[in-house]
Amino acid sequence: MDALLLSRLQFAITVFYHFLFVPLTIGLVIFCAYVEIQHVRTKNPLYRQMADFWGKLFSINVVLGIVTGITMEFQFGTNWSEYSKYMGDIFGSPLAIEALVAFFLESTFLGVWLFGRNKFSPKVRATAMVLVAIGTNLSALWIITANGFMQNPVGYEIVNGKLVMDDFFALMTNGYAWRIFFHTVIGSYIFGAFFVLAVSAYHLLRKQYMELFMKSFKIGIIFAVFAATATPIIGHFFGNYTAKQNPAKAAAMEAVWETGEGIGMPLLIIPHEKEEKNTEILVLPKVGSLLFTNDPNGKVIGLKDIPKEERPPVAMVHFAFRTMVILGTLFMALAWLGAYLYKTGRLLQKKWSWYLKVLIPSVVLPVICINAGWIVTEVGRQPWTVVGLLKTADSVSPIPASQVWFSLGSLVVFYTVLLIMDTYLMVKFAKKGPEIHTTEEGVDHVA
């Protein structure tokens, strides 16, 4: 394998790993901040206990989000130097601003929150957690602004064969970036919410710490209903926009070969890229056009109208999109059912215990869903790094493959170790439940 293929593989693996941890961080921190605020407002020691329990899980997870993020910053330079030279004038700024505006806030105040347990007033701790939440969510904005440019370049000019910033405001208001941002961040809240629901379900089934986990469940389910409903709606508008700005990706999502009006939405098909056709098993007529254009007879551009060398891998994008949509639908169903069970007081009834049992393993589904979504976005962008401007093959560093073997091999080994450690600790502390010891201190402190 050459340096290009290895570097692509390494980028895919490292970004996937990174995004195992990050969505949970983004989602859970909002939950923790909310609980902290409630603690200040109500002075109810139960909220203190909740904030410490969920905050601990957050703090374990966030470590890995941060360290795997450094890898991302390094490898734009190490593995994609040609891209960095070509794009640096535009791409570097959001990255630097991300560190300056978001990472400092997140890291500094996480320290204040973690070590302020017995030192500071509830207000200081709540403020710290809110600032961590702002920092975490802001960081997503900046990195996605950078990513949005790669999907839909705006506000640039080409000088001496390089991209140069022409309009920072256009970069910041890139419609593509804002759609990805809300879709990704609120999608991450699904993960946060389902994590809270799964852990709560585990304890509720064992009838332990009932008060704490019923309350957590309640907040979690509201969060889940909101996020699981909002994400597909935003996704729909994102799809509209993609069809307009990025027809090759949109066509690959639905495996549309022939340009036409009133395109169907395939539920079950097998795309054949060589033959440029699909084996159709089940297709909903006109729904494809409806989803992309809000008109059942709207026109959708097919892949045959896009030069072969500018098409993304169709099957991968198509199936990743299906995975995302199916799981997203499932989240909506689970969230609304949970809300109904909670509201009607049926949640703890024996005949509904299957629901809680289903929630526990469901915790892994949002991460699969979110990463499937990123496969659609990033593989769907191929063969371009910057759509229409720079191809992936021209982005790679002129480095020997042996070096990439070294970094890729080490990263796979190290990351696997980290993932095992993280999973072990998360499961251990999630099962252990809140610490009564800290509760008493918390109560003392409040009093």
Binding site: I60, V63, L64, I66, V67, T68, I70, T71, E73, F74, F76, G77, T78, N79, S81, E82, S84, K85, M87, G88, D89, F91, G92, S93, L95, A96, I97, E98, A99, L100, V101, F103, F104, S107, T108, F109, G111, V112, L114, F115, K119, F120, V124, V164, M165, F168, S397, P398, I399, Q403, F406, S407, S410, F414, L418, M421, Y424, L425, K428, F429
Partner: protein
């Protein structure tokens, strides 16, 4: 502001961000390196964790900012520096990853094997970070073998005696900062154990730094500019005097001043190197035509301007709240009550 002026301002900011990183992280790296030796039991470990815990993560963001600022303001330097020095940057990355995990996960499980292996992970990773970064910066001062086709030097060639000497200066400086920080923030038996280390590392720092400057004069073009403007020699002189002050204050047990002196060593060490490199950012040893300078690698005027405004607003804010957190955690961490990461 003209493009050239902005590029110069960003060169200075670039230097400042690197120096800020090394000052803020110096004591955590130092404590990390000595951690396996001086922490004898759980309480000691808790205490040392709590001494650095509230601060180190915020410090590390300065490093990430240094990377981001290089990318934004000098994209060509970012691209070539990271790809030419591919393996060292990955080594630094792995060390950064394991330092964080070792420190924060050490007490997340009570199994003796878990604790022991993470204790050493933290220690070894904390040692590797200054070694790799020391080698990198010494190589920047020395000049890289950049030719027409990019990097022509070998990986092993980077670990030349001069670079090892640079790494030694880094390690010793951070060890002294670590000892001073322990004395400022902790109590109990750790102080005496740390003291024993400083009694060796403080004088060694003076010797290593003096040797490094002599080697710099003999082997690198850094002092060429200094020879043209002899007044500049005041910079390395202050660095050297500061290292002597470290010895003085360690022996006089004035640790806050010793800490400040290690910061001075860092400031004037880098000031020497960066002044000598200017306007080069990635100097070629083979032919200066292949060097990347702040002029031929800077971003467009618009980007530099926007980033300058952003930096003017946010750098003071960040500094303010980071200093405020140091004030928040101003109390000494006692051995009896320390909880560490738990």
């Amino acid at each position: 502001m003209s493009h050239s002026l902005l590029a110069n301002i960003w060169f200075v900011l670039w230097c400042v961000i690197w120096v800020a990183y090394f000052i803020f992280d110096s004591y955590t790296l130092g404590i990390g390196m000595m951690f396996p030796y001086i922490a004898k039991n759980r309480q000691d470990r808790n205490q040392l964790q709590e001494v650095v815990g509230p601060f180190w993560n915020g410090a590390e963001v300065w490093l990430i900012t240094a990377g981001g600022a290089t990318f934004a303001a000098f994209p060509a330097v970012y691209a070539d520096m990271f790809s030419f020095l591919y393996v060292p940057f990955y080594l630094a990355l792995f060390a950064l990853i394991f330092r964080a995990v070792g420190l924060e996960f050490m007490h997340k499980d009570d199994h003796p094997m878990w604790v022991k292996s993470l204790k050493w992970t933290f220690g070894v990773a904390s040692f590797f970070i200054p070694v790799v970064l020391g080698v990198l910066f010494a190589n920047l001062f020395y000049g890289l073998e950049i030719g027409k086709n990019g990097m022509e030097g070998s990986l092993l060639g980077l670990f030349k005696p001069y670079a090892i000497l640079g790494a030694t200066v880094f390690v010793l400086t951070f060890l002294n900062a670590g000892v001073a920080w322990i004395h400022v923030k902790a109590d109990g038996q750790l102080l005496e154990r740390a003291n024993k280390i400083a009694r060796v590392t403080a004088p060694s720092l003076v010797a290593a730094l003096a040797m490094f400057f002599v080697a710099t004069a003999n082997r690198t073009p850094i002092f060429d500019r200094f020879n043209e403007m002899p007044i500049l020699y005041i910079i390395p002189t202050i660095a050297l005097i500061s290292s002597m002050m470290v010895v003085l204050f360690v022996y006089k047990k004035k640790y806050l001043l010793a800490l400040a002196s290690t910061a001075d060593v860092i400031i004037f060490f880098f000031a020497t190197g960066f002044t000598g490199m200017y306007p080069n950012m990635l100097p070629s040893r083979l032919n200066d035509a292949f060097s990347l300078t702040l002029h031929n690698s800077a971003s467009s005027q618009k980007t530099l301007q926007i980033m300058f405004i952003v930096a003017c607003i946010f750098v003071p804010i960040v500094l303010a709240y980071q200093i405020w957190t140091h004030y928040l955690f101003r109390e000494r961490v006692t051995n009896k009550d320390a909880k560490g990461y738990h």
